[in-house]
């Protein structure tokens, strides 16, 4: 086992493949064993939030706690993720790789059509939320005019998602109901016509839910339209 501690992005890119990329560690550390090498991003300096008008660029290693404090419209979504002790470690970049039914911030970023800056063997480029791979350096999105978010949980704090719905009033992204966050495109088309009830009904077309400790696939499919309708009728 090795723990690499690169201090620049270039050093980190040179170490891609030398170990598992480690940011906050909340998803990686539970699975580390003595044969796992790590490339820690803690000293690479990828943390920070820049504002340019309505556009936010957030460094990949910025903690969820800081995003929740400084990006007002995402506060409720951040508060719905795990606990303060986890949010002080977990990062926005890492959340893109959180396995469902976790990764609620990734669901929000999908609804925001966020651009993800990545670097891998093919060089640096921007990709969509679901295409992120290699080293994520930053995430950029526009603050939406309207914002809708709801997460159904087993309890009010610190639970994986049963159903997560995020929307800017145009795009609708879902969590908890598929192996990865998904856009509900049929529902978006109905929403564009102003038909929230039909959008709620059609959201099920995007779902491919699983059974887990939080809920059954049957239950998720059953309650998804309810939560989509509630989400879309209560702007944050």
């Amino acid at each position: 086992m090795k723990v690499h501690l690169p201090e620049t992005v270039d050093e980190a890119v040179g170490l891609l493949g030398a170990g598992v990329l480690l940011a906050g560690g909340t998803s990686v550390m539970p699975h580390v064993d003595p044969t796992t090498s790590l490339v820690s991003l803690r000293r690479v300096g990828l943390s920070g939030i820049e504002r340019d008008g309505d556009t936010l660029t957030i460094g990949a290693a910025t903690t969820l706690a800081r995003v929740g404090r400084e990006v007002a419209f995402l506060h409720d979504a951040i508060e719905s993720i795990a606990s303060p002790t986890i949010r002080n470690l977990a990062t926005i970049g890492g959340n893109l790789f959180a396995r469902q039914p976790h990764g609620d911030l990734a669901v929000c970023l999908l609804a925001l059509d966020a651009r993800v800056s990545i670097i891998d063997a093919d060089g640096a480029r921007e990709v969509g939320v679901l295409e992120a791979e290699g080293l994520v350096t930053a995430i950029r999105f526009d603050v939406p005019q309207r914002w809708y978010y709801t997460k159904a949980m087993r309890r009010r704090q610190n639970s994986g998602s049963i159903v997560t719905v995020a929307s800017d009033g145009t795009r609708i992204a879902l969590g908890g109901v598929a192996p990865r966050p998904v856009r509900a495109t049929a529902a978006e088309a109905a929403l564009a016509e102003g038909d929230v009830a039909k959008a709620a009904e059609l959201s099920v077309e995007a779902a491919d839910p699983s059974d887990d400790a939080y809920a059954s696939a049957w239950y998720r499919r059953r309650v998804l339209p309810v939560h989509v309708r509630r989400a879309l009728t209560h702007a944050i």
Binding site: K2, V3, L22, L38, I86, L89
Partner: protein, 159 residues
């Protein structure tokens, strides 16, 4: 890769020690520094018994490889306890309010409460619930823990 020399400020004192690659902050505290208040409950960041303050923020110390925080400041329950044999206000409120049952979650609960009261001296019940939402009490004594933390806030504010 060889072991590394780690320097941490732990409970106000400079500590220097050698750690094998991948040693967690929790293991370094317990096995190297002999500070056993932080407990290893789940080892995967879901129970909160290992909660410590890292540069002032409460974190799960079982999730932090200690090499990655070289040079940081760490506070554990040992650093909260006064050296004259008395108890801190939160500890005393836990004792008086019967907020410990088996006691295994107590160090983590108190560190989460320390972080809360440092940031917000007059928390509501909802603030307390949020602050300890990463800490499991397997005896299910949450109500007395929540009351003790609110009581501690009162005691500190009226001291």
């Amino acid at each position: 890769m060889p072991s590394s020399v780690i320097e941490l400020e732990v409970n106000g004192a400079e500590e220097e020690f050698v750690a094998k690659p991948g040693t967690t902050l929790l293991s370094a505290l317990r096995d190297t520094l002999g500070l056993t208040a932080a407990k290893r409950g789940c080892g995967v960041g879901t129970c909160g018994t290992c909660t410590c303050l890292l540069d002032g923020d409460p974190v799960m110390s079982c999730l932090v490889p200690v090499e990655t925080i070289n040079g940081s400041s760490v506070k554990t329950l040992e650093g909260v306890t006064p050296s004259d044999g008395t108890l801190s206000p939160i500890q005393q409120a836990f004792l008086d309010g019967f907020a410990t049952q088996c006691g295994f979650c107590t160090p983590g609960m108190i560190m989460a409460a320390e972080a809360l009261l440092a940031e917000n001296p007059t928390p509501t019940r909802a603030d307390v619930v949020r602050a300890i939402s990463g800490n499991v009490c397997r005896c299910t004594g949450y109500e007395s823990i929540i009351r003790a933390i609110l009581d501690a806030a009162d005691r500190i504010n009226h001291a």
